[in-house]
Symmetry: D2
Subunit: 385 residues, 4 copies
């Protein structure tokens, strides 16, 4: 496959919640024109796909995207399809009910665990209705104080819940287990690192895979190494892309450390992860910048990192590595990174019938003004925290 063909084939899933409001514990700044319904989120996502050509699916977050009625989700899927989209991963949410103050599937109280499990099962039901392949599980479960709960028993409870959900998965469905170092729990998280997620997925089976959120690591963690390891073990299910300078800042992917994103994409390409088995998803917060152009920019940043990764001269690299030529091997990698791939991507877009400059095209489209004018009243979508 040529570089251009690969770039044309790329698919970046955008998250429904990134079109809604988000913020920090200090303040959520509402933005005019923000969607009020799952359908309006899809309308916005359709603009991202229209201008980039590589954002064909949208991840849902339950209950933020809950629809009602017997055929609610099927109807939502049809709504997406009409706009050239499909529904992607279903993201469970077991962190926003008052019951979950001390955990969900790891809560000391079995009644709360049952409630959380029921929600996870509901998410699989929704997958059946939407045709989604991936169930994305991120647990905010953890403790704030040493001694607060038994760290090990919580693992047992977690394992029990995961096994029940895994059992429930249908044909062609997968479970993606996410890890996170901290926040909202501040002493320990029940799934804090890739090792924990990996250990659980390994016991569950092939359809349990680890998802890497690029903002969920300790300072200094070499994320591309984790990518290489998980690919080697056949356990990389996908990414939640974003970027960070400090913690889980959830900035636009590629904004904080574009070189890291490139290295990560290089390991994806090198490890055979560039294809449908690894889901490339965004998971970001656009706290202060307008959401749709920020998501377009994010998709473009992923494309640019991918293009550079694809441009690495693998033969020259392998030769230099074989020779122990430290500077030479590094130079091969840097040559690709230092290339300005924006003209190449402009060409790819034009060959796909798109405007070479998606941001400018979006600006010209009038969509931003239109949603501000039309989306008046109602309740803007947000995290509901």
């Amino acid at each position: 496959m040529t570089v251009k063909a690969a770039l044309r084939s790329q698919a970046v899933e955008t998250p429904s919640w990134a079109y809604g409001n988000s913020g920090t514990r200090f303040k959520v700044f509402a933005q005019p024109g923000v969607p009020r319904t799952p359908q309006e989120k899809l309308d916005d996502a359709a603009r991202v796909h229209e201008h980039t050509g590589v954002a064909p699916s949208v991840a849902l977050h339950i209950p933020w995207d809950r629809v009602t009625g017997a055929d609610g989700y099927a109807a939502l899927a049809a709504y997406a399809k009409e706009r050239g989209l499909r529904l992607g991963a279903i993201n469970a949410n077991v962190f926003q009910d008052d019951d979950y103050k001390l955990g969900s599937v790891t809560h000391p109280d079995p009644a709360v665990r049952r409630k959380a499990l029921a929600h996870l099962m509901e998410c699989v039901d929704i997958m059946d209705a939407t045709g989604s392949r991936d169930l994305k599980l991120w647990f905010s479960d953890g403790t704030n104080y040493p001694g607060q709960d038994d760290v090990r028993e919580r693992q047992d409870r977690l394992a029990e819940a995961l096994a029940a959900v895994y059992e429930r998965l249908g044909e062609g469905q997968r479970m993606l287990l996410e890890y996170k170092l901290f926040e909202p729990a501040f002493y320990h998280m029940d799934v804090p690192d890739w090792g924990t997620a990996y250990a659980h997925c390994l016991r569950l089976g092939d359809r349990a895979q680890v998802v890497v959120d690029t903002g969920h690591h300790a300072p200094g963690t070499n994320i591309e190494f984790i990518v290489a390891m998980l690919l080697r073990e056949g356990k990389l299910g996908g990414f939640d892309f974003n970027s960070r300078f400090y913690a889980d800042d959830d900035l636009m992917v590629g904004a904080a450390d574009p070189f890291q994103l490139f290295r990560l994409m290089y390991e994806v390409v090198r490890g055979g992860g560039f294809g449908p088995d690894v889901a490339f998803m965004l998971d970001q917060c656009h706290n202060i910048e307008p959401k749709i152009p920020a998501i377009i920019r994010s998709v473009m940043n992923v494309q640019e990192a991918t293009a550079k990764a694809l441009l690495v001269d693998r033969e020259a690299l392998a030769a230099a590595q074989r020779d122990g030529d430290v500077l030479g091997a590094n130079a091969v990698l840097m040559d690709a990174y230092n290339t300005d791939v924006r003209p190449l991507l402009a060409e790819v877009r034009e060959e796909m019938g798109l405007d070479p400059d998606p941001v400018a095209a979006y600006r010209r489209s009038g969509w931003a003004e239109r949603i501000v004018a039309e989306r008046v009243g109602g309740t803007q979508a947000g995290w509901g925290a």
Copy 2:
């Protein structure tokens, strides 16, 4: 002054907002019985002081504690006094209006800067009414993306606002400038570290002092060194105590690293900072634990660290240091740290006419049940984010 006398003389200011609800961007878990008014916060604070004897003042946060009427704040001060309390530092809040999305006193738009400055001036007005000595300034100002704004111009704007406020301070009033590494801004904060706060305070004059929030540093920062430096420079105005395992977790002070708290208190004692010129304030979030007993525990943790710091055999320490006896000097410090000071503090409390076990006394008092029963309806206090 004997150790016991010093412990009796200690004063830890509790923050009004710690009695209200708080949480993370993921969820604020409401707790039953939480205050709905500044007066109810003072009622709760009075219980903390009643049981510990060393929490005589309460910091206010404007607008969260805004009261109306010509004599509103004077009346609130009187309300506090009736309960054996006084009003402490006034905390300005220029981060929760929609106008402040891109900053307050450093905002590119002069109109927003004027609005923010007006709020700071209002806070000094309130100090006049409450008799508060300290204006505590923490700015959430910063940027999320490189290039978003001009880092240096923002310093100029900050300096201008600080100078105007400093000028407005009355007799016996001080400005305490707080710094924070990150959150809610994720690329740069306008006052990210003690060096920045120090540089501004130095230009302003003697009544501008730096306040150290123990959760606002980069991983690995030696906070007690900063304490020693600021005391040496005559620029330590106070503390916002809390503790953290990761970032600005705002856990109970002493919960995450009691040894660090001890070292910090040792530098305070050693540097002559144990007295009224350095304000010892809590600034914590009790996201999942009941608030009043958590604050009592926090006050006790500060007392225990202080007691240990006071117990350090300074002469033996100096001798070992002079001799270059690394292990011996360290052992002197550790001897104090390893001492169980709870019996000593129980004695101190009994001598003050208090129950030796404040947490148990609070439990027995029935206050927790009473506020749950009585504080029904209304809007619980919280950050209002």
Copy 3:
């Protein structure tokens, strides 16, 4: 088993290299009286055991402790036995030959890999001779620059070497695989985290176990969580104890964060890891402090943390955890931590026929003066870097 019985049964292995000189890349400060031979290291270790009663074994480091002759290691073992010691883990060293500049078992050149493997095999030969149970493997392997070598191929090479060594292990022998985030490699380490070590050990089999060096993690890592996970998975082989404020500082265990050490020991006790299957080893550098008393102090620090962990009221803790009593559960843990266990340990020592104060006893023994006087000339032991 009572707390006292448990404390009497504890065994902390001291590392031969901690008796020799060590330092940083900036300077190794030589100390008078430092051993020049493996035998002299054992002489010093015997003093630690004599005064503490719980340091009965000594880890060797090959080639730093290489002895020659057909029966060299058997003779060394006999030498140890005469002094009341036994030889413990064999630590392989594949990082100090010029050949290892770009790696050892992961080096791109198969000849270097063969050489490294041969050394590992030699270490198992030594184990046969010394009767050691554990082969401790720490690899400095990694890269300094992105692209320098193929991260994934290096995993394959690593797996191949580990499999060969595992195959070679005799009856009752184990392989302990250590991980480390960084240093001496500064872009990636081939075994950077517990997940990687775990994944390799899992494939190898039951006798491959992970060893946790407490200084080898990213900032913010919850080490006791890793302990709990590895115990749950049956994969915790042992510890390399030390402490750190920043990176792999290799300070005396318990010196930087005694509360962390306590939490870690609590998870060990709670997870059934307090026994012979988990090796408790020190791995420290005494760059500026005298080595023998520093090691005595380190052993005592482990004892104190263990004592506190054993004193946790497990029933009260479980009850509070079951009730979701955050503050109550934390208080149970803190009660144990805040206890001054030095009197209890003094009693234990007296019951073992030891001086209650090992440091003072060592000081009085005259050993320090004796080795300074006697160990004149020759080459002091050190890392040989």
Copy 4:
């Protein structure tokens, strides 16, 4: 000044010690052809300048570059001049004598402090002889254990020594004070952060300036913010460039995070720091890669970051910032960063009469082979740790 003119005017000082061997505490890998004398270091530095055109000066490190004889340093300066170079900053070394185990200018023993001060004075003598402008002071001073020494008294001792040296400075000479978070001291460093260096320099006077080593910060520190602050305060004396993934890794500048280097250079340009008053120096270790081409590459990396910083459309940026256009302002910055400036720099080099590809030119020159062949015997230069 045009971008090209600015690039032609740039000067990057290379450090004599980077031409010698270096390593970690685990191993120093010697490289063939490494210089044995200060003169040979200058020979190598001349090659870097010959191929890059922008590395005209070489920093010395005393005692590593000590020469003897009445006119030793004048002769060395003449030697440099003959090769188109000049001698740059004099770097004092008060960390490698056995006396300095517990500190140099902050040592508890006044005799050691006097010795250290005498060395600093000697360095100013050397500056007089070499014509160097800058005295670079980095102190390894600090402690490894809490309580080991009195943190505050050490500040007093430091201040006293700095004042004495400052007093001694001649016309046109400056003192550059460097800070470092940790290593080799692991509990506290006496000058750990820019705030401390700034506070001391402020008291000393205009000719005391802070030097920023890019590897000396806590994780997450925004270094370009510090640059902006120091420029605003008139206190930025220079840089020690290198890069790091973890701690003070001392990798080639720009190798770990080229985007950070660009942001830093942007603040330099924006703050008026691009000129002779700010010294741009490298301070790196080439532990595994050949030294001369690594230094050439490093110089080129600085050039590329500088070129991108110069290409930022300042007017467009200011307009977007003024409008609060977060995405637009960020895009202006990223446009410059994403530009491939290698063709521009190739042009600049050709206009300077240089080969457009300095690395290739060096490779072709035969110098690498020649020094391997000729520099046989003797003692290779290194840190002498």
